[in-house]
């Protein structure tokens, strides 16, 4: 698969602190790559190096398979941390600045504003926009020149749930309809998991894991939750011990049994219990989410 962004042994040192430590990562074409890490983990520093705002101390960066970054950065749209817009200008004027900068015909402005839902802002200055509108305007600015790759650093920071949803829908639309590859960093992991197709976890400057959406789903499957009548709990655990030969389970305070074996064999467990006259109210895979997984991964690396 073609890598839109590839870093090899990328490092950045600020005086004595290694903010990014030999990161080798690949954002594949068509991905919505969720870049996850705690505050100060090195996400923004890595993104700054990728877009040319900071110089790497060591390592290399490739964009679209080439190390000629100056030329290839034309194909990259960026929104880093907060919306970089002119507050005293209208949305149209903000895009006009970018069109002039990139020698793009100003005819595209209406279409872009329409795409991000800002076509009706008229003469309203950007300083009077809500934070969500400012963020959408910043994304609109990054879309000038039809980028093939969008880098969004914390685009949902400070937004209300409605604003977060708007940005998510917009990113999905750009990825699916315009085939734009997206690298997005966010703290809102629940939201990111609705969006990303691949993930990278960075911790203390090091990329500790890269995985796909499917791999995450697999890794989050941690067991089976069995809900039986409270009078049957003891009988049920006896069957697990005797018939399934497992003691790898716990009984929750609510009487629910959490079985940590046979994760892929929910049907078989159900069949065994039913054969022994246990009425199973519900049985399902116990799935943790991206947030739990992230905490589990970085938890052991303090």
């Amino acid at each position: 698969m073609e890598c839109v962004l590839r870093t090899t042994g990328l490092s950045k040192k600020f005086s004595k602190k290694l903010a990014v430590n030999s990161v080798s990562m690949c954002v594949e074409k068509g991905d919505i790559y969720g870049f996850i890490g705690k505050n100060g983990a090195g996400k923004t520093t890595l993104i700054r190096m990728a877009v040319g705002l900071a110089a790497p101390t060591e390592g290399s960066i490739e964009l679209f398979g080439s190390t000629n970054l100056t030329v290839n950065r034309e194909k990259v749209g960026t929104v880093i941390e907060y919306p970089a817009i002119y507050p005293n200008m209208t949305a149209k004027d903000n895009l006009t600045v970018q069109c002039k900068l990139q020698t793009v015909d100003t005819n595209v402005i209406e279409g872009i504003l329409d795409l991000v839902g800002l076509s009706d802002t008229g003469k309203k200055k950007a300083k009077n926009f809500s934070l969500g509108m400012k963020q959408r305007l910043a994304i609109a600015t990054s879309l000038v020149g039809d980028p093939e790759f969008l880098i969004l650093d914390e685009p949902t920071n400070g937004l209300d749930p409605e604003g977060i949803k708007e940005i998510r829908v917009l990113i999905q639309k750009l990825n699916q309809e315009r085939k734009i590859t997206v690298l997005i960093s966010s703290h809102i992991l629940g939201e990111l998991s609705k969006l990303a197709t691949r993930y990278g976890i960075i911790h203390n400057g090091q990329l500790i894991e890269e995985f796909t959406e499917e791999e995450l789903r697999e890794r989050c499957k941690s067991g089976i939750v069995i809900n039986v009548h409270k009078d049957d709990v003891e009988k049920c655990t006896a069957i697990l011990r005797e018939e399934l030969k497992t003691t790898n389970f716990k009984i929750g305070v609510d009487g629910v049994i959490h079985l940590y074996d046979f994760v892929e064999q929910t049907g078989m467990v159900n069949q065994v219990l039913a054969k022994n006259d246990i009425i199973v109210n519900s049985i399902s895979a116990d799935e943790s989410d991206l947030e739990d997984y992230f905490l589990k991964v970085i938890g052991g690396r303090k």
């Binding site: 700054r48 877009v51 040319g52 880093i80 002119y86 507050p87 200008m89 004027d93």
Partner: protein, 254 residues
Amino acid sequence: MKSLMASDLFKLKKGKYLYGCTIGSVLLRIFIIIIMYSVLQMDDSSSASGYEILSKAIGSGSALLVSIAISIFVGAEFGFGTIKNSATKAFSRTRIYMSKLLVSFIATICILLITAVVYVLLGTIVFGWGTPPDGYILDAIAKMGVQIYLNLALSSMFVMVAILIRQSAGSIAINICILQFAGLVAQICSLAFDKLFHLTIEFSKYLPSTIISDTVDVEKLTSELTIRGLVAGAVIIVLTTAFGIFSLQKRDIK
């Protein structure tokens, strides 16, 4: 470079600060005309005319307002974070700097020329044009040329300061301090050189503001004054531009 400048010129056109500073500079000259008129009313031995104002029309009186306009123009790019929009595209930092510098020069020339035109026109309306001596107009135009050039040297310094400070308010403060205290620092340097090395160097002679004042005060522009102005201006422009570009290239953009 052309696209960078087109974009910067558009921002300049949309920025109210340029109009505000131009109006401020014009108002300052109107105030000077009023003062001159009041003095002439009280003192019959003094005289003024439109052609005399011509050689003083540029001067260094607009430098303060030019420094404010440039500090806002350049500093705001860092304050709003919009510098990232060009720095993440296919432009080298040198080009980004040169575009800001050239557009600042254009802004400086606009402020100076509009102010000069209003100053001369109003002076002519109030005092009459008068009868200039032979060769006066050409000499006045040459003086204006040197004055504009030295104002551009000051603008080059304002751009460098704004690039170093990376915020509007701080840049305005530093640039105003430079304008106000450069003469004092030059005098201290002269004293120090005299005390330490027994060398008599009049540093203040090479300050743009001093040379501009000299061009206003002398009856006729001398070649010594012209060369001093051209060399001092060139040194300032080259040094500040080199240092500004170096700083922009070496420091990360936040």
